[in-house]
Every structure is written in structure tokens, then in C-alpha cells.
């Protein structure tokens, strides 16, 4: 890098890169916080709020995000257009049904700084419900960000050897099936 000319070094430092993140089985809030940090440029030591050094962020598989707890039924997104009688309340599940990218979009919008640069940063965020990305975006991508949450393996994904190697936590009774409650 030190062999570059000064103008080339400057260009490389201030260039806007395209970052990819896979949202499969991830909590949307964590994805959104990672996106907002990158969109503002807060991950760069040359950060300044006025310099517009945020990167582009492409989020794929937004249809497969995973809320923890009962948020799919309990989290409510409210909106009001200003006209009487137009107060709408949608649960996260209904919102996701209507538009698979809306949850992450609203989350990122709420996490960006509430100033005039927010709209330009949202323009630089690209959301895709599945992993089918258009060619021009695929060509621009430079880096994939690691997923914030480690996906736990399902029981069916463990091999029989691993299941046998797991230590016995307690010794069950020989006829434990007798004690199971039958509904």
C-alpha cells in the first residue's frame, strides 16, 4: 500500500465498499445494528459525521430472520397517516408476511442518526428476501461480514457418535416411560 501514489492512496482510503451480510437465522436487531454502524462509517478510523464515508450494505435472506422470544406475535409496528381512522397496528408476523424486508428496514432506519443524512444512508442499504442477488450488485460486493449470532445446531444435525459421546447428566429410571404424564 505504501508503494501507491498519494492520490491512489487517498482514493483507496475514502472509497465506499460494498459489504454483504446473511440474515438467515439471525435476530433482526443485531443485523440492523451491524448495518447501521457500517452505513454511518463508524467502523473506520477516519470517521466524521459530515464526511459521508459510509459503505453500501447488502442484506440477503431477510425472509429467514429469527426473532427471539414471542416477538413474532407480541411486537407491534404502529403507523398513522394523519387522517382520522387510519391508525394501523400490525404484529411482526403480519408485517413480515406483507413485506419480508420491512422489519430490517425499519430497524435500521431507527438506528441511524436522526438527521438529513439518514435518507442517503438508507438508499445505500439493499435488502433482498432470498439469496438471489442481481448481477450488478454481485459484481460490486467486496466483503462478507460475519454473522452476529452463532446458529445452534438442531438435534438432527448431530451425528450418532456425538450423541453417544455426550455425557450422561443423570441416570434415568429403567421404566421412565411410566412416569411421563399422559395428556
Amino acid at each position: 500500500m505504501s508503494s501507491f501514489s498519494r492520490s491512489a492512496q487517498q482514493w483507496a482510503t475514502f472509497a465506499r465498499s460494498w459489504l454483504l451480510i446473511d440474515a438467515r437465522m439471525q435476530p433482526p436487531g443485531k443485523i440492523a445494528s451491524v448495518c447501521s454502524v457500517r452505513l454511518q462509517g463508524k467502523h473506520k478510523p477516519i470517521y466524521h459525521p459530515l464526511s459521508d464515508i459510509g459503505d453500501h450494505v447488502v442484506v440477503m435472506n431477510t425472509r429467514h430472520i429469527a426473532f427471539s422470544g414471542n416477538k413474532w406475535e407480541q411486537k407491534v409496528y404502529s403507523s398513522h397517516t394523519g387522517y382520522p381512522g387510519s391508525f394501523k397496528q400490525l404484529t411482526a408476523a403480519q408485517m413480515h408476511q406483507k413485506d419480508p424486508t420491512a422489519i430490517i428496514k425499519l430497524a435500521v432506519y431507527g438506528m441511524l442518526p436522526k438527521n438529513l443524512t439518514r435518507r442517503t444512508m438508507m438508499q445505500r442499504l439493499q435488502l433482498f428476501p432470498d439469496d438471489l442477488l442481481p448481477d450488478d450488485i454481485l459484481r460490486n460486493l467486496t466483503e462478507e461480514l460475519p454473522q452476529p449470532r452463532e446458529i445452534p445446531r438442531k438435534l438432527s444435525e448431530y451425528t450418532q457418535e456425538e450423541r453417544d459421546a455426550f455425557p450422561m447428566l443423570w441416570t434415568p429410571l429403567v421404566d421412565y416411560k411410566r412416569l411421563l404424564p399422559n395428556f
Binding site: 463508524k42 467502523h43 473506520k44 478510523p45 477516519i46 470517521y47 466524521h48
Partner: protein
Amino acid sequence: MSLLGMFWNQTVCLLQHFRGRKNRCYSLAVRAVRRAFVYASKARKAKRRSMRQLWIQRVAAASREQHMKYPALIHNLLKCSVALNRRVLCDLSITEPRSFQSLTALAHARRTEGLRAALGDGAEPPGVFSRITQLQ
């Protein structure tokens, strides 16, 4: 020597960019110039605050690039009696990335020593970096 002439001679460079009649008419201009001076005085104090905030944001970004968080970095550099202030750390992180990387490595080493000393039962020998005494 008219006061009006003195006023315009001294302030014309300051109020050229004001909006509306504040850049032309004496009564409005006087009030606008006084407010501008007040804002400038307040901003001189706020400038120091905002510069420090910017340095902290930049050092935090650079340390996160090196897999370390800002509070951990600052605390551990303090424990190693490295008295670099945030301004210098910010400049190093931009112009001398390798030096900043070595500073984060130092802080990381001191941190792991501190954690080992806290979690262990004192049977292990104390670490190398923790032998540096505190600054007075």
C-alpha cells in the same frame, strides 16, 4: 469618526453571509452581530468537547478493527502507565496503523493478565505487564 462608519468598517467581513436585511441594515445587523459573537464564544468551549468526542469515536473504530473495545483499550493502557491521550491515539490510528496495532496488542496482553489474576487463585506467577507500577 462616526460610530456608524466604525461599526460597518469593523464588521462588514463578519456579516457578509448573513441572511436578509441583517447584512445591510444597522439595527438588525447590530443584534445579529452580537448573537454571532455570543455563539462564537460558546462554540469555543463546545469545540473542545466535540473534538474529544470525535477522537473517542475514531479510536473506538480503530480498536474494534483490532478486535478490542474502546473502554478495555483505554483502561488497560492506563494500567500499563501508557499516558497517550485520545488526540494522539486518534492520529496514530490514522497515520501509524502498525503502532496502533502494537498498542492494542499491549492492552490485550495486560487485559488477559488481569483476567487471569482475577480468575486464578494467585498460584500462577504475576504477569510481565502487571509489574509496571501505577503513575503517581
